[in-house]
């Protein structure tokens, strides 16, 4: 028996969520860049920039891939929760806070 599609459009919520992931990745890059610039050391700046851009790029690629997978999962009624992605994001934010704390306190 085929489940009737819910009255709301699966695609819209999926898209909003993916956009939120992209916005968050970009905010991560912005803050990482600012912290790196403020550190006063070109090497710290370069390393930090590299790390946040690599993280953000990974997050964005993964978000797009999950967006695609989710539309299939939604059709099939499979789970769409993304624990690894959320964990990575929270860890990156806390890590960036620690780096920023060092930058502003020294």
């Amino acid at each position: 028996m085929v489940e009737p599609r819910p009255p709301w459009d699966d695609g819209l919520q999926n898209e909003r969520t993916t956009l939120a992931w992209i916005r968050t990745s970009l905010s991560l890059v912005a803050v990482g860049t600012f912290a790196g610039k403020q550190s006063g050391s070109n090497r710290t700046f370069a390393v930090l920039l590299l790390v946040v851009v690599a993280t953000a790029a990974t997050m964005i690629v993964a978000a797009e891939r999950r967006h695609h997978e989710r539309s299939h999962h939604l059709e099939a009624g499979r789970p769409i929760v993304s624990l690894p992605a959320v964990t990575l994001t929270a860890t990156s934010a806390v890590g960036l806070a620690l780096v920023s704390a060092v930058v502003v306190l020294t």
Binding site: V31, R78, A93, S100
Partner: protein, 121 residues
């Protein structure tokens, strides 16, 4: 379907899969809190970078406080997301919002600190 990691599966196995709208909403709420925490970190760095009227120790304590608040919010945001996801799956009440008081009182404290520093600096 792509094989996912064992620890990620544990969450999926818990309770029953909620209406996807709630999972999406929970995820977006988490991301919004993370962006808020990042904004606080940026504010802290901004204080360190741009404020010239305050003494060095004053600037650093305000900046450090804001960055600390940002980091605190990020960890709270994860906790809230996880507990909310569990509550959705178990069909129990969502956890009380402990993030809003943290940012509200935190920012008020930060503002008070800034005022004190400006007055005595």
């Amino acid at each position: 379907m792509r094989e996912r990691w064992q620890w990620a599966r544990r969450l999926e196995a818990e309770g029953t899969e909620p209406d996807p709208r709630f999972t999406f909403a929970n995820e977006r709420t988490f991301l919004a809190w993370i962006r808020t925490s990042l904004a606080l970190m940026a504010a802290g760095i901004g204080v360190e970078a741009l404020v010239t009227d305050l003494p060095g120790w004053g600037r650093r304590s305000l900046a450090g406080f804001l960055v600390f608040l940002g980091g605190l919010l990020a960890s709270f945001a994860f906790r809230r997301w996880f507990r909310s996801e569990l509550a959705l799956r178990r069909a129990t009440a969502l956890p009380t919002n402990q993030l809003a008081p943290v940012i509200a009182y935190g920012l008020s404290t930060g503002a008070a600190l800034a005022i004190v520093l400006i007055v005595i600096g």
